[in-house]
């Protein structure tokens, strides 16, 4: 049941979230809300040059949105901003692919487990919530550093 949507990997990240909790110090944070269901996520980033030294998060919401944040943390912490942008684009494409776009495991790691979610339009936003918040936080951190 629900195999297509609730992959084991997703349930595992949901039940055992990696790196959950907001940590200090951080350079910027972003808070995103899914108005349809009340899912909320706060994502904090700390930059070390071009590297995401830490991605921390907290939030409340459904298994999909919470698992996505956990995957995000695991996948991107310690990686470059370029890697993060590439992964963000790939994940978004996959989620907008209506279940027909397979993700590249090299780029998305456990993120590829979300392919099935893309078949459920109402849940796509849940999966993307933390990725959007990350993008915002990174943007803020980068512009503040420059400015």
């Amino acid at each position: 049941m629900s195999e297509s949507l609730y992959q084991e990997i997703i349930l595992d990240h949901y039940k055992n979230p990696r790196g959950r909790g907001l940590r200090e110090p951080f350079d910027a944070e972003a808070h995103h809300v899914n108005p349809t269901c009340g899912d909320e996520i706060t994502v904090r980033v700390r930059l070390d040059g071009d590297t995401l030294a830490d991605v921390s998060y907290d939030g409340q919401g459904c298994s999909i949105s919470q698992a996505a944040a956990s995957v995000l943390h695991e996948l991107l912490t310690g990686h470059t901003l370029t890697d993060s942008a590439v992964a963000g684009t790939a994940f978004t494409e996959m989620m907008q692919g209506k279940g027909k776009v397979e993700g590249d495991e090299d780029i998305l790691g456990d993120g590829i487990a979300f392919t099935g979610v893309a078949r459920y339009p109402a849940r796509v936003k849940c999966a993307l919530l933390s990725w959007m918040a990350l993008k915002d936080a990174v943007h803020r951190a980068s512009t503040e550093k420059v400015g």
């Binding site: 629900s2 009340g38 899912d39 409340q60 459904c62 919470q66």
Partner: protein, 425 residues
Amino acid sequence: MAHRMASPLDVDRIRKDFPILERRLAGDRQLVYLDSANTSQKPRAVIDAVTEHYERHNANVARAVHQLGEEATAAYEDTRDKVAGLISAPSRDEIIFLKNASEALNLVANTLASGLAEDPRYRLGPGDEIVITEMEHHSNIVPWQLVARRTGATLRWFGLTDDGRLDLTDLDELINTRTKIVSMVYQSNILGTVNPVERIAARARDVGALVLVDAAQAVPHMPVDVTALAEHGVDLLAFTGHKMCAPTGVGVLWGRSEVLNSLPPFLGGGEMIETVAMEGSTFAPIPHKFEAGTPPIAQVVGLGAAVDYLTGLGLGAIHEHEQVLTAYALDRLAGVDGVTVIGPAEPVDRGGTVSFTVDGIHPHDVGQVLDEHGIAVRVGHHCARPVCVRYGIPATTRASFYLYTTTAEIDALVDGIDEVKRFFG
């Protein structure tokens, strides 16, 4: 116990009137539709009325001297009589057809805010107060926030008690001589609570404030008598077709003639005029004054068929049926570990809309797994986010009943919740 009461409806026969209830879902699952507070399903009689209108009588209304135009106009205006009858309105001219309940609520807010009314009682300005409640649907919150910003009026509201009812402790302070309008929901779409609108309206009348009732969740489910409500001080009442077996795209505003006559026009155009010159225009009498542009003609015709269908069964009987279901559902849910009902726990002054949480499992996940069993519920804040905030929860799962709902479907829901808990446990 209440749920031992028998339903006065022959639900098996009623279900045969609704084609969609025979629909097989993915995996050949049977549909268990518990989302009627969101939108109701449509009986064959309503679907056929719309089809027949398009196939035989389609024309614009009130503008044609030809036969099709006369037929379409007659059908459209007949529905006005039917709706007036349904809610016991003293005059058919007090029935305004709009696109949904939201438009009806916005119409009142916007005409009060426009400043165009001659009588100052119908003009909002700085110092005036608008009173709503914390259990309103967004459609009865946002319009008032917008007009408060535009006019400088102040928005105030009744809070909620822990058991899901209006906290009326401050009734006499909240509704005072500065109050220009009180707008409140009759039956909450998230808590199921039926509010004491007469009592609140009476206080509003004492201070000379207008009273608007959002009856989107009331008119479909119980007998509503606006003549009686008006005696307690209710001036205006809004509801929506799609929640009462009618097509989407049509809503109703009822208002006392005196009040509707005093409000300035809302949307301009089409047949809402008396005469138009480039330099200025005069307006038609109600109801046409508020029906700008081509109205939802086929949808109004469908609404007429829906009113016939509902009154054929009897709103009293429908209400009783739902009371039986509500009692049964509250009783069964009380027996499920980890389930907490948000809203009145007893089947008293509440309708067949039951919101609940499942410990540690987000409503989105509850709804998704239920859907895999063919059980359609709504999850989220149900366009009443302040209620979720009030009870410290992000969202709820909501099961809502109607005339075609069976106790077997409530059993399926309870079994489904067990599955949910197993899956995420």
